[in-house]
Amino acid sequence: MSLTETGNAVVTGPRRKRFRIQKDKALGLALVSPSIIALLIFVYGFIAWSGRVSVSAWKGLLPDYTWVGLDNYKNLFADPRFHIDVRNTVIFTVVFVLGCLIIGLGLALLLDQGLKGEGFFRSLFLFPMAISFIVTGVVWRWLMNPAAGDRTSGLNLIFESLGLDFLVNSWQATPNWGMAFIAIPAIWQMSGYTMALYLAGLRSIPEELKEAARVDGATEVQIYRRVMLPQLRPVTLTALIILGHISLKVFDLIIAVAGKQYALDVPAIYMWQTTFDGFFFGRGAAIGILLLLSVGVLVIPYLWYTQRQERGT
């Protein structure tokens, strides 16, 4: 399909090429169509169905699609339990995301110093990510045992035997702020992943930039602050989005550490309990839709932004 063959080919070439592309497109479309159809049904179709249930009066085992408008949503916004859920989610998200970003960046900066055994440490820090939240939760349930007196165990026992009594606390059973402690296992699990993101970011910064800065007389601290960190901004944004949507949807970790209890309730647990324990299907669907919207608020601008970036380059 070379354009330089004859004059004729120059004229016909693009037309034939366009035809070719269409055929390729058709084949591609045929190949992906099963997954597109499955996606349409099982993702978007079910989202639409949930949306429909969320504006219905469905309570009990039998479907009831009586239209009630936004009543389920209004009731949720007036529901003290949902207020607790939102508050808990905010606490968890702030502690978890900040914790992961700070620890992840710290570990990445340390590993970037070119020390011996970097590969070993990298795997070591990344390893917790291979474990499911349930396993993490069960282990940390033992570690963060709030029992006092003779029955002290876990981290509290370690602190006591090391003479660090001021660190002994009641962990997730702490009134009002228990949720912040639930974030600790989550940070333990995900900070290694954040480190990997940052490390990749650090490695992609050309050495020349650092050298140029050094030649200009910048100190090492200045190089990190003025040259490296600004280059890491896109990585931070990516990490923020990934960690943020994990924390909005958190469910399994809390169930494993604390079970179902009001003080550590989040929207996902409320959704499960009210739907399958209480048969309030309409209310459960409304919580699901609100969860989806909250994740959407976070993710959609990001997708839009990256797509624009990619088109720009």
Binding site: L31, Q261, F276
Partner: protein, 425 residues
């Protein structure tokens, strides 16, 4: 290229057709099964421990009585029945009911499955098998709606049991309390003697379990029952008094309760870290399992204020409407309600038979005392375990209780309980 696309589409269609024909085959097999009366599918969440062993023992009895009926055990593990109930809900919505399934006797079954028209009344079976003569009279209204009995209780557990540590009590010269006031006096004495948390409690559902026994103990049999059958008043002074008692009791409990399972809380009593624990009588099986002796390592009594009342819960089996194998399902229910079936199941599960004519020699010393009470006491239902309130109502009470455990605001709690009754509609 076009040919290739056509070929590809053809392949896709073939795959689709293959899947479709596979579906068709499965459907045919199912319909074929439905015409043969030799299988019964029974759905439960009994997948481990004494429960599964008890079910197996009952299946053996069933196999002896009905050798031509294959027993299909569709048990779903996990979440103390939560997972199983979610699976069951899905199957019922898809119109594929098992022939019979397990459920807590009472409103949990009635509110969910009778309201959805999924199960059949069983009065005819009670008449045929003369079960009304062998089951307590006060039990029947609790498992009926509008005069229709909807399930066959296999076992009975008692909810209002106060477990005590006899050594701790005798060391402090404390008698087992029989009224709320005696109980508070005993708890005060123990705290004065240096025991910070003489009443052991576990996670949130055990707090609800304590609540229901305190309500029964404070309000008495009639007023407690009235709350659930619509004749009571949740905003009454009696309820306020019960909630105040509950609020006071919580001050004697361990601070780490939210992190403890019911076993952990029971263990505190056995170990002498606490003097009292309120838990259903499945705790007795656990105490034996960890090597404790009845009347030595642990003692028991009705919770204060509930002498002469048996607050029960029960696992029971239902008959599905449109059951694919109706006759086989009825055969299963006959075994579940029979003396042989119940005496096979209960000694293994660690509960007492719902029938009052069980063979006492098969049961341990605690269960024998429970059998005596079951035959003579007034029967009240448990809230936590699904007898008196349907799931929707219970889950609203659970939310209200969760809020109360954090705020300890009795007035707000009572207001939330009044509102929760609306979920019963």
């Amino acid at each position: 290229m076009t040919k290739r696309i056509v070929a590809l589409l053809a392949v896709l269609m073939l795959v689709g057709a293959a899947c479709a024909s596979e579906d068709a085959e499965t459907t045919t097999t199912t319909t074929a099964d439905a015409t043969m009366e030799d299988t019964v599918e029974v759905f439960s969440w009994w997948t481990g421990g004494g429960e599964a062993a008890g079910l197996d023992a009952m299946i053996v009895v069933f196999g002896g009585d009905y050798p031509n009926i294959t027993f299909e055990n569709s048990a779903v593990a996990g979440g103390a029945g939560t997972n199983a109930r979610a699976v069951l809900a899905t199957r019922l919505q898809a119109n594929e009911p098992p022939d019979s399934w397990q459920g807590h006797a009472g409103q949990e079954l009635i509110g969910t499955y009778v309201a959805a028209d999924q199960i059949e009344p069983l009065n005819f079976l009670y008449d045929e098998e003369n079960w009304l003569d062998v089951m307590p009279e006060t039990l029947i209204p609790l498992i009926s709606k509008d005069g229709n009995i909807y399930s066959v209780p296999v076992n009975i557990h008692r909810a209002n049991v106060l477990w005590t540590n006899p050594t701790v009590l005798s060391d402090n010269n404390i008698e087992v309390p029989t009224t709320m006031d005696e109980w508070f006096a005993a708890l005060d004495a123990l705290q004065a003697a240096g025991m910070d948390a003489p009443l052991a409690m576990g996670e949130q559902w055990t707090a609800m379990h304590l609540l229901e026994t305190v309500m029964l103990g404070t309000m008495g049999y009639e007023a407690y029952n009235a709350l659930w059958d619509g004749n009571g008043d949740w905003s009454s002074a009696e309820v306020t008094e019960a909630l105040n008692n509950y609020d006071k009791l919580l001050t004697y409990t361990n601070t780490d309760s939210s992190a403890l399972s019911w076993q952990d809380a029971g263990q505190l009593v056995i170990d002498g870290d606490a003097a009292f624990n309120v838990m259903g009588d499945w705790a007795e099986g656990f105490f034996r399992e960890i090597g404790s002796e009845p009347n030595v390592g642990y003692g028991w009594a009705p919770t204060p204020g509930t002498n002469g009342i048996f607050q029960f819960l029960s696992d029971s089996f239902v008959l599905a409407k449109n059951a694919p194998h109706r006759d086989a399902a009825i055969a299963w229910l006959k075994v579940a309600g029979s003396l042989a079936g119940q005496d096979a199941f209960n000694p293994v599960k660690g509960s007492i038979p719902a029938r009052s004519d069980g063979d006492r020699s098969l049961y341990g010393v605690y269960l024998q005392s429970a059998m005596d009470d079951w035959a003579s006491d007034d029967v009240a239902g448990s809230l936590t375990h699904g007898v008196v309130a349907n799931d929707s109502w219970k889950s609203e009470i659970d939310s209200a209780l969760g809020a109360f455990l954090n705020s300890r605001d009795v007035a707000a709690f009572q207001a939330a309980l009044v509102a929760a009754e609306g979920a019963n509609a």
